[in-house]
């Protein structure tokens, strides 16, 4: 009884943990043409700032990298990425920061410039598609995902099938890949959609 009571530690589970094997099998089925990988949760903060004010410069100084200035683009900072979601909205992610501390810290910086920062770490989960990522996503996404129209450094909020997603291109740099950020409650739907679409990329015997 005492032992039962003692082990009450909560361990975070990836929303797609039960589909890990299904996603890994896609690489074998498509002979390596496309690989689907789950990404570890990161700290994420939604930042609202007047883009014409002094806020973006202050946040940039704090992060150690400029915020993206063009619509629908992302930039890297030392521990993560900054994605521009709207005229006055950015999504900042970090693999190093503790979500609560980071929210508090960034909010302090943003409030001084009339903005605000909110912890949204639990809002999205992440899938990485490597290989023929653009071709795979074109089965359920209306955006022109060809490298010329959606090059490295672009991001976009759009629909993948019926689910809203945030896409980011080329986070790895040299390798062509797409990151899909999706609400945890829609993640299983998106994962199943991608596994289903990957059947189209299975090489056919000649």
């Amino acid at each position: 009884m005492a032992d039962e009571m003692a082990d009450r530690t909560l361990t975070p589970t990836h929303p797609l943990a039960d589909r890990r094997r299904l996603l890994a099998a896609v690489a074998d089925e498509t002979a390596g043409a496309v690989r689907l990988e789950l990404e570890a949760p990161v700290a994420a903060v939604d930042l609202r700032l007047d883009p014409r004010g002094t806020g973006p410069a202050a946040i940039a100084a704090d992060l150690g990298a400029e915020l993206p200035s063009e619509p629908d683009t992302w930039t890297a900072h030392p521990t993560g990425t900054a994605l521009r979601l709207g005229p006055d909205e950015w999504l900042l992610t970090s693999t190093a920061a503790r979500p609560e501390d980071w929210e508090f810290h960034l909010d302090e910086v943003a409030v001084a410039h009339g903005g605000m920062a909110v912890d949204v770490s639990a809002q999205r989960t992440s899938l990485r598609v490597r290989g023929a990522a653009r071709e795979l996503l074109s089965f359920g996404c209306a955006l022109d995902l060809r490298p010329a129209a959606f090059p490295r450094g672009r991001c976009a909020q759009t629909l993948l099938g019926q689910s809203g997603v945030l896409l980011a291109a080329g986070l790895d740099g040299d390798v062509d890949d797409l990151q899909i950020l999706v609400r945890p409650s829609f993640a299983a739907y998106v994962a199943d959609l991608l596994v289903d679409a990957a059947a189209e990329l299975v090489p056919q015997p000649a």
């Binding site: 014409r52 005229p87 006055d88 209306a142 976009a156 909020q157 759009t158 629909l159 809203g164």
Partner: protein
């Protein structure tokens, strides 16, 4: 499917947007002093032109921003390049 040009995200499919009705309907300056009839006119009565119509649209599945666009109600064609809230566009 029709493409609608979002001032922030560019051309996107129409299912990413939601309709917000007639643009430029001002909130009454003194709501409490309105008669029931005047209030009903503010809440329910809208223009229904055959031709160009200024409308509010929201890019729900994208940047989630509202913008005003002029659309021809006969052809569904968007006539103006939409303008967002200029205060938010850098």
């Amino acid at each position: 499917m029709q493409l609608i040009t979002c001032p922030w995200c560019g051309p996107r499919e129409e299912i990413e947007f939601s309709y917000g009705g007639q643009a430029g309907v001002a909130y009454p300056e003194h709501p409490a002093s309105l008669t029931d009839e005047q209030w009903a006119h503010f809440v329910f009565f809208r223009d229904n032109p055959k031709g160009p119509f200024a409308e509010r649209w929201s890019h729900n599945a994208g940047c989630r921003r509202w913008f005003t666009a002029v659309r021809d109600t006969r052809t569904y064609r968007f006539l103006s390049s939409p303008t967002s809230n200029p205060e938010l566009t850098s």
